[in-house]
Symmetry: C2
Subunit: 711 residues, 2 copies
């Protein structure tokens, strides 16, 4: 009994730690309103559950089904009951949790593999072992909090019949998942490792950190080495980065408490902190940028980010994080969560510095990159990253534009209604492959109406784009990358420049995409836009009384061909639309003989699975390569309330691009009679000095971009 | 000079009144934050204008053009300068305003009719006299405020060369507009009448009140008699009601000050106060319900409603109005506005009681009605009103559904991009006639693919639907109306019931539409829905690789035919969609052989003028009439953040309707195995007692609707 009491005094010590308990007990609605709200909500939920008989069903249903959802909910209720016991000291919560844990300890030894398991690694409580691992990360925390109130007999039962066999199942008995350097492996490592910390069993901790053979070739540390780039980017993209983060930060925070000398948050130049900040930056200010398979309704207020912010704040005391906590309007019931709540209540005005940043991809940072160019309320997302594994899309050198926090030039994301059972059980839909992953579904170059790497993940995973430049000057930011492998015999180089200039009504995107090839090809460059089409410049031929799909495969079969815009003499090819009360114009400067197709998504969609998004597709057929030069202009304002409209038309009357010695010069004549020249040096070195004669004028400048105004 | 001083002491006395000035001077950011904000904003705008030379261009451009917008802006600046002078006492504002007024007095006598005038009644400063009248309502208020600071000479100039000739132009010289019992006449009456009040010239006041011949056959009082129904409904619909209200409430408030004995706000049983409340109720909680020509981005925060609320609050002291002011987040710089700002700052929690209401149409309330049925966050709008003049749509017995403040079953509104110059100058587009006004653009019965009254405003204006019932019980609200003239030989009767019952996951709409006819007809009943289609019950045939328009005229030429849903044995015809994180299902109960067409707007739209809205169109071809019975169910919840989804499928497994002696019985079998019966008595009298045998069961009830549950 003495030994047991000694053990008890160490608890809780995972995300909730004994030294925080006194402060958590004192927290009130004035000093820490969000903490008090969370406590109240937990109490409401747990009290409601305690008032009824808790169902612990036999595992039966796949994801979304009753038994699946019930076991998930039970884990969260146990976790909340533990928090309520810790904070409020009411033994009813501990007794209830102890009873539920004992019931699970009765059930667990009777279970074989889940009846619905498929090709994925199977679990016992759930159809996928990933869910089993998730369950234990919460339940071990619950146990850590309530064990001081449990009898020795109860503890023995729960440890020997539930926690240890559960951890063994996740590790030894599921070796291949456990040893995976993959997000599924991280969940298993976190579950097993935290179990080891609570049971004071170093074996579990060691295999969690270093893999089953404890060699370090697998396990949590290897995952920290491999799964994030040096800039904290997770190769599957921001949507999965959010999900992958949670086991990392939970287990790391627990290690930080139990083994502070490890300095886990210092590991690999503070990689976990970088990953949390990267996840915040890789949003439109709220929603995660949809790179690869991504569902667009996940944002900074998801529970993973609530944990991430609380833990990052504990380790950095960076007040800017409080701005994210304010958006979240929620804290977790831990000491870290309390510190966020208290400091937020004291901070009147906090802003998170969303900024232009480069996120290199790959463990060594040499597998391409995602670049963010930000100016005012405008964000350009340029994706020159690696394939991102099975959830990757064939979107080399694709881009997106956000303005006022809304999608303007958009990516479809994933074709999936997560957990919506009537939509094929909520899994990825067939259209995720036939549309969402295809190149034409992206703002990326399509050659001969095929997708990059012919849609082969295996081929695509062998190489990455090459980042060429990421530089900025006073009025411009530039990113450039090259992709030589997506199409055999075609080398694409894309440069995107975000320009700010008083002649422009808002930040302007200049997009230059060159494809070098010796062969004849059809090149198509889509701009998937959000909004209501307004006007066109050029000869518009609309398919007014019949629609046909643009093609038969590689995503083209899903696009209705609504219109074709062809060049008209002396006028640039332009399409304008209205979105979110702002006007946007796409201007195609070159090549001379290109057309612009107008398309709407939805053909060959027999179950109405696709959203009805729209695209403008610049098209040119050439031999010997091509250069697309496009401008994306933001202009004017529509105010329906005040009935005022400003500048609904593009400011660009004429646009031309010329190659001069050592530089390309894009000349924009505005409707107000001024001329803006954008000079782009062939040599992009930031410090290089350049000079050029433009007619009478001798122009000198430093760096890759120079802006000139003539009246 | 003495006489002039006496005059001066009476000013200002329109919306800003001398007795309020002391309080307005004292108002600060603590006691009246919204007032302080408005004052600061006015100051910023006027200071900016005063820092530059003010342009008073020759009238030249039509609506939206430079001279048009400039003169509008100048009137508002004068008005604000007057307010700033009154409140802050700084003579610079008065001097500037005086100077601008004198410049207008120099210009005005030189003007003929506006060069851009069209078939509309022409103005001088503007292309339409309506705009000229608007201008004077603001400028006369400005003059009222600054005249105490003007020299006698300035006043003489402004009165003799600007105000009087301007008022004469609006009245004597534009007799037909001035004498119109129409909103354009109200603007003229308000402008001329307020000018009379300021100049103490009873002639202007009298003709404004009683028409040019002062007989009372025209003028403001007649307009108050004729333009609103006894329930305060304006026949053109809520969008125009908002606009029409402003001259009424401005002039009335001025009369209230100058001639309190008139009791103008008591006139016709407080008709103006009723009209303000009606405008508030006729919203989805924010936006005006789109009945007839309406642009959907106008809501309760428009300036007209800011005035309306301040004046209604002054006359009623109804604290509920403060909830609207809170939404508006803006007050006007008048004594009334100040009182709203002060009381709002003191009121922590105010709610406006949006409620179920009937708004009878027509001056005598006998020209049909618009009914609102509200339950929780659900609003059913049922339109059985008269044609609403030239802006009316052919939508007899049409309906709309709002849920959580968003459109679910929607009306297209007007096809117009107001003031967006590239969209045909911002006027009503051709598609307003070819689509938006047509019956198929509405949730209304179409017979033989023609529009009501063959689209003739003249024919439609001759008769109104007949309101049959508007009654409610504990669990239901019912509205019913009949339309016998829209189609020759077809009498339509529609009954809509909004039901609340524990078996239902949200308020349910039961829609019964009977058409009596002796002939063979094609009947089509559209439901224009907002959202993403999810699932169907029935045999779905999708036009996957080619789309054609549904028809060639009467709006059908604009609808792409995307799919046809045909009945499958033993299953109701159903379509479900997801909107705003809630699921909706339309269930078609009868007739047995109907189909459901799925359509998308956008065919034959060569300028991309139309939004790409969607519709489900129930279709039946019969001889001898038809009855459509439809259910609109709200169910479940999609939470993308928490990854939880509840009840994505309809709760209705089977549905059948039977005629019993004296009552129709709709039997709904739920997926959970229960049966809900909705009994609808043929005799709808609210107090009537009914009895019916249903199998073994003897059912007795009172009133038109009765709900029964069997297990
Ligand atoms: Zn994608
Ligand atoms: Zn309409």
């Amino acid at each position: 009994a003495c030994e047991s009491d000694t053990d008890v005094s160490r608890h809780p010590n995972l995300l909730v730690a004994a030294q925080d308990v006194a402060a958590m007990k004192r927290a009130d609605g004035v000093s820490a309103p969000l903490f008090a709200d969370a406590l109240q909500q937990a109490q409401t939920e747990v009290d409601a559950a305690m008032a009824q008989a808790l169902d612990i069903p036999l595992p039966k249903d796949p994801g979304g089904g009753y038994s699946h959802e019930r076991h998930k909910k039970n884990a969260l209720l146990l976790f909340q009951a533990g928090q309520l016991y810790t904070i409020k000291g009411d033994p009813r919560y501990a007794n209830w949790a102890a009873e539920v844990l004992v019931r699970y300890a009765d059930l667990y030894p009777t279970l074989g593999l889940h009846p619905e398991h498929k090709h994925q690694a199977p679990g016992k409580l759930f159809w996928q072992i990933l869910n089993d691992a998730w369950w234990l990360t919460y339940v071990i925390q619950a146990y850590d909090m309530v064990l001081p109130a449990m009898t020795e007999d109860q503890r023995a039962q729960v440890e020997s019949r539930l926690l240890r066999p559960y951890a063994d199942f996740l590790s030894k008995e599921s070796a291949s998942t456990f040893n995976k350097v993959h997000n599924h492996g991280t969940w298993a490592a976190a579950a097993v490792g935290m179990t080891g910390l609570v049971l004071a069993d170093d074996y579990y901790v060691n295999i969690a950190l270093k893999g089953l053979d404890q060699s370090g070739k697998a396990g949590f540390l290897k995952q920290m080495d491999q799964l994030f780039s040096p800039d904290g980017y997770y190769t599957e993209g921001p949507y999965y980065q959010r999900y992958a983060l949670l086991p990392f930060v939970m287990f790391a925070r627990a290690l930080d408490r139990h083994k502070p000398s490890m300095g886990i948050f210092e590991y690999r130049d503070r990689i976990l902190i970088k990953a949390i900040y990267a996840a915040i930056q890789l949003t439109d200010g709220h929603y995660f940028l949809p790179l690869n398979d991504a569902i667009k309704d996940k944002g900074l207020d998801t529970i993973e980010m609530v944990y991430g912010v609380s833990i990052a704040y504990a380790k950095t005391q960076d007040k800017n994080l409080l701005a994210i906590a304010r958006k979240q309007n929620q804290v977790v019931l831990t000491g870290d969560g309390l510190r966020v709540a208290v400091d937020l209540a004291r901070s009147a005005d906090v802003q998170f510095p969303f900024s232009s940043q480069l996120f290199r991809d790959g463990p060594n940072g040499d597998e391409g990159a995602v670049a963010l160019l930000r100016a005012g309320d405008t964000t350009v997302v340029f994706k020159a990253a690696s394939q991102g594994m099975g959830h990757g899309h064939f979107d080399r050198l694709g881009w997106q534009l956000y303005s006022q926090g809304a999608e303007i030039v958009s990516d479809y994301g994933a074709a999936r209604y997560l957990n919506v059972e009537p939509k094929q059980g909520g899994i990825y839909l067939p259209e995720n492959t036939s549309w969402a992953k295809q190149t034409v579904a992206h703002n990326a170059l399509v050659v001969d109406r095929t997708s990059h790497f012919d849609g082969s993940v295996k081929r695509a995973s062998k190489s990455s784009p090459e980042l060429l430049q990421f530089v900025r000057g006073e009025q411009w930011q530039l990113v450039s990358a090259r992709e030589a492998n997506a199409y055999k015999g075609v080398v694409m180089t894309r440069t995107q420049i975000l320009l700010e200039h008083p002649l422009l009504s808002g930040p302007l995107v200049l997009d230059l995409l060159a494809a070098e090839s010796d062969e004849q090809h059809v090149y198509e460059l889509p701009v998937h836009f959000q909004g209501q089409l307004m006007t066109f410049s050029g000869e518009l031929a609309v398919n007014t009384d019949a629609l046909k799909p643009l093609g038969t495969q590689n995503g083209y079969q899903h696009l209705w061909h609504k219109a074709t815009l062809a060049p008209a003499a002396h006028r640039p090819l332009q399409a304008s639309w209205l979105s979110n009360n702002r006007f946007y114009t796409l201007t195609a400067v070159a090549p001379a003989d290109q057309t612009l197709l107008v398309a709407e998504l939805g053909a060959n969609d027999p179950e109405f699975n696709l959203r009805r998004d729209q695209a403008l597709i610049a098209r040119a057929e050439t031999s010997g390569g091509v250069q697309f030069v496009q401008l994306l202009e933001q202009h004017g304002h529509y105010d329906g309330r005040a009935e005022t409209v400003s500048q609904p038309r593009s400011a660009i009357a004429r646009a031309a691009i010329e190659q001069h010695p050592g530089a390309q010069v894009l000349t924009l004549d505005t409707v107000s009679g001024q001329t803006l020249r954008i000079v782009l040096a062939d040599d992009r070195a930031p410090e290089r000095q350049h000079a050029l004669s433009l007619g009478e004028q001798r122009v000198q400048w430093q760096g890759p971009v120079h802006l000139l105004v003539n009246h």
